[in-house]
Symmetry: C2
Subunit: 354 residues, 2 copies
């Protein structure tokens, strides 16, 4: 830290992304990436865009917008594209939160919400998940703040229904409700059909998981045109050209190749079911997941030990050293081979400690 | 605007980027892009990266960092990479400006500084350029704030020397001095050699202009390790994966292909000299430019008319409807053919009005 850092930022702590160790080749099940490469069509369009990089990208992402409008069944004025969905989430904290509308989110959820609040100097309130690690929707009625809910939630994978979201929207007409659908394609029920009905709804999506574009950085916000205009005001005041030409092109390809997307979703769900059943058979408790990861705890081995032993065996998963999470590890659902490797390694750990 | 927008942002106005009209094909000399495609090696590396996008990009940009350290003669701890240099500039406003250290910049400069200040709720003070549109360095001695100087300045193209920058650094030991070198490769004197000597210096660069990567979005901040750590705190609190894999790869290629870069710089300087001489011969006043654009005014035709008439003839330049700038147009220096087209169109306008 320098002596020049603004005083309000001195005590503030940044987000820590999942580790990316370079010391050896791991079975990487720690950052919820897709085990599948991007759609060949997405790759082709991105490659084509690389030749024209001397010209600025289109700040309005017009072609991508028109393809996405068709794909998601919304209008062009109901979308904003960002450099990953982290950016649109940060924009939402900046645009819709202040002392009069503090941020409200679960005590166990995407760790970045707290960081966004801190960075933007926004007060926040955490609402505990239930004993079963579920969002109790009634806790969010008349929440007196801007609500952020990951659905499915992270790192639990547990989802709420569209009807539950609708009840939260109705009970908070004077505040924005942000539904972060980073993982919804893996089995959650989307709030997108509610966009036209509620002026206080913002739905965010990412191309990092289900569209295999984590390294490309593309996110979307969906909302009524007035909310989108607010978010664009932020975008045009920080980085109008936030989505580069190659990434916009990759997004067009990924949305267009619907068959590839659906096949990958089916495989992930199949591997998730198998991983869940196998771990349960080995004495694990696995929360019901609608995401491309599972949150699992072993009856007799701590989350930290599972994490460390798996790492020794070349399998990376994510461990959170935090109350109520220490018993668990979060395991991304990978390919069939990665699932086999994970299950083999867990079995060995159990045997070594039997 | 929605009723949910935070109150402090309601009166605030966003940045307006240069127009990108789609109605016809223009000779585009309005946003200071490079007329040359990216280096073939940059394009090749970007294309190769498109296949691995399912994995997150490296938040530390390690390979790019090591190539850039070599290229710029700095250490790895003295750099941060961002999604264009607008992002590192915004980070600097956020990290180093507050009521105790307001932003200080010229009244005529990159229009985004005022927007960044507004967005981040930072007070700012503008210091007028001299009659000759120059930065008077003594005006920045003991400025009691965080100084932002584009060098060469925009939209004037006028540069100050490294010795002048050093005097500003010495006279402001308690505040950060940001030197925005977006255009320095076209003839300015860089402050980079001062990085190791002044803990209050931040130099920013972009790959958008001299490296032909405007559509790829890549910027760098150079400073002592403590300042870089502050900026990384902001990066890791907004968007750790801010530079996507393809763009990082393109940056590696662009830095490596030194010959291509040097050839392009030589051509732009040659075309700038020719454009300047020809416009002067037609009665224009052209400010001495060290950038890839010139700022020119005609003795008897207003900037607005020049801009509008050029647009009718298929040539886009930039006009600023602002005090002291209304007489001028800013013209990007393009290829030889684009320079010819611009000069032909100006000659016609002069003749039509003779």
């Amino acid at each position: 830290m320098s002596k020049f850092l603004a005083e309000r930022l001195v005590p503030f702590e940044a987000y820590v992304p999942g580790e990316q160790p370079q010391d050896r080749k791991y079975v990487k099940l720690n950052t919820n990436e897709s085990p599948f490469p991007p759609s060949p069509y997405a790759e082709r369009l991105a490659r084509q865009a690389a030749g024209g990089l001397n010209l600025y990208c289109d700040p309005e992402c017009r072609v991508l917008t028109s393809v996405a409008a068709e794909s998601f069944g919304v209008s062009s004025e109901e979308m904003i594209f960002t450099n990953g969905s982290d950016e649109v989430l940060n924009f939402a904290f900046l645009a819709f939160c202040d002392d009069a509308s503090p941020a409200v989110f679960p005590d166990i959820t995407y760790g970045f919400y707290k960081v966004f609040a801190g960075l933007n100097g926004v007060p926040y309130r955490e609402i505990p998940l239930t004993e079963e690690y579920r969002v109790e929707v009634r806790d969010y009625f008349d929440a007196k703040g801007t609500i952020f809910l990951a659905n499915p939630n992270a790192p639990t994978g547990v989802a709420i229904t569209k009807a539950e979201i609708e009840s939260i929207l109705q009970k908070n007409p004077d505040h924005v409700v942000v539904i972060d659908e980073a993982y919804v394609d893996f089995g959650g029920e989307s709030a997108l059909p509610l966009i036209g009905k509620y002026e206080n709804l913002l739905v965010t999506r990412t191309f990092s998981k289900s569209y295999s574009l984590a390294g490309g950085r593309l996110g979307i916000g969906f909302a009524c045109p007035a909310l989108i205009a607010d978010l664009k005001k932020i975008k045009y005041s920080t980085n109008p050209y936030n989505v580069n030409s190659m990434t916009a092109a990759a997004g067009i390809g990924a949305l267009t190749d619907r068959e590839y997307f659906l096949r990958n979703m089916a495989i992930i769900k199949e591997n998730r079911a198998r991983m869940t059943a196998s771990l349960e058979a080995m004495g694990f408790t696995v929360l019901p997941s609608s995401a491309n990861f599972i949150f699992a705890k072993c009856a007799d081995i701590s989350g930290e030990v599972i994490y460390k032993e798996l790492k020794k065996k070349g399998v990376l998963v994510r461990y959170f050293d935090k109350d109520r999470l220490r018993d668990f590890v979060r395991i991304s659902v990978g390919s069939a081979e990665e699932t086999d490797a994970l299950l083999r390694a867990v079995k060995q750990i159990k045997e070594e400690r039997a």
